[in-house]
Symmetry: C2
């Protein structure tokens, strides 16, 4: 690993779960606006609609749309199950925007600031550009560049997204490393020739839901959090 990482120029970060705590942020907001609702169950229901909705877009059942629009479709779908169908249009819009204001995991900003001094650091998320930009302003995430599925008009794990990062930065795929808390994302990136770093996020789905954090040998790095990745990359 020591020799391989000399070659890395660009670190592309998955966002939801890897850099920010979507579960904790949404549970907290639900406690504020609808304390009678089981925030944990509500949040998991909202998130569970995400992959199927993207698959409908990628298979052509739905036209291309921003994640904001997909989040809204899922939200409208689940609100009745939680007795929240009385929320009006403006309240639904506000609630949907919560995905723009997810809080970073505690060490994210410090680790990204360290990594930024040695690498180009960018997002590579299925979240849309405005979502990622607003989130960076909200949490102080110091990206060099915001890249999104919206730029490539393909969602991860489409190879166009991983290869698109290399092409935009004029480097070989092996000079880009995807950093993510999800092995499926990392496996797809490896299939396109990227290097990969797995970040353990045992609490991504909250305390009640277990999340597999076991190492996979194919990853270039395995880290307990982003500061641990920075330690390994920066040879501290």
């Amino acid at each position: 690993m020591q020799s391989m990482h000399k070659n890395i120029r660009v670190l592309a970060f998955d966002i939801f779960g890897t850099v920010v705590d979507w579960h904790g942020s949404i549970v907290k907001e639900m406690q504020r606006i609808a304390p009678e609702v089981d925030g944990d169950r509500f949040t998991l229901a909202w998130r569970s609609g995400y992959v199927p909705a993207m698959q409908k877009v990628m298979s052509g059942i739905l036209p291309w749309m921003k994640i904001d629009a997909l989040h809204r479709l899922i939200l409208d779908d689940i609100l009745p199950q939680f007795g929240l169908d009385h929320l009006d249009e403006s309240q639904r819009q506000d609630l949907n925007k919560i995905w723009h204001k997810l809080d970073p995991w505690p060490e994210s900003v410090a680790a990204l600031s360290q990594l930024k001094s040695h690498y180009t650091i960018c997002t590579l998320s299925n979240g849309n550009v405005s979502l990622l930009t607003n989130m960076a302003k909200h949490g102080g995430l110091p990206w060099d560049c915001i890249l999104s599925a919206e730029i490539f008009k393909k969602y991860k794990p489409d190879p166009a997204t991983y290869l698109g990062v290399a092409e935009l930065f004029d480097v070989a795929p092996g000079q880009v490393m995807l950093v993510a808390a999800h092995q499926s994302d990392l496996a797809a990136a490896r299939a396109s020739g990227l290097q990969t770093a797995f970040i353990e996020r045992p609490m991504e789905y909250g305390a009640k839901q277990s999340n597999d954090i076991s190492p996979v040998a194919e990853n270039t790095f395995h880290a307990t959090d982003l500061l641990h990745l920075a330690d390994q990359l920066l040879d501290h």
Copy 2:
């Protein structure tokens, strides 16, 4: 003007000449690597090939390519005129990369930092994504987001570039303001419904070349530099 600017959400900045001093930066570099060459004349020759080269792409004579590639075509074209045709491939690549390391005008970073706390600030340049990202790292330009002609596969003044900013940020065209030192860029942005701010850069082409900085009434703002724009926008 006071009432109009309440509506502005996104400031999109032209880069070459508006935020960074391409002429001064390239003259300085030429003094270092080829002191025998007239750096002022060389720099103006290189830059003068820029608009015609983009027009060849937009008219279909050349395929889509990054500005890096256009800069290189022009460089290869002018080197013999300056007695520099002995530069080898690696030297030419290095020289071409100078466009990634242009220095900001003296007040740019301070002004952008002020504006960033109240607006979303992004690039909107014909420069490619890697060029703009490297330039931001080089000069400490604190962009919220890097947008480029490369994202839209159209060069300014194509309306797709101006309208593309509004679409990515989910706002109306009138909630975006283009900030630029070039009236032609601003006129095209206005034709797409954007607000516009003109920045005086009397020295953009160096001390020997005059540059028209007279006000045009159609612009929302006219500013002597970016701090003057910040003063007007932030109601200091």
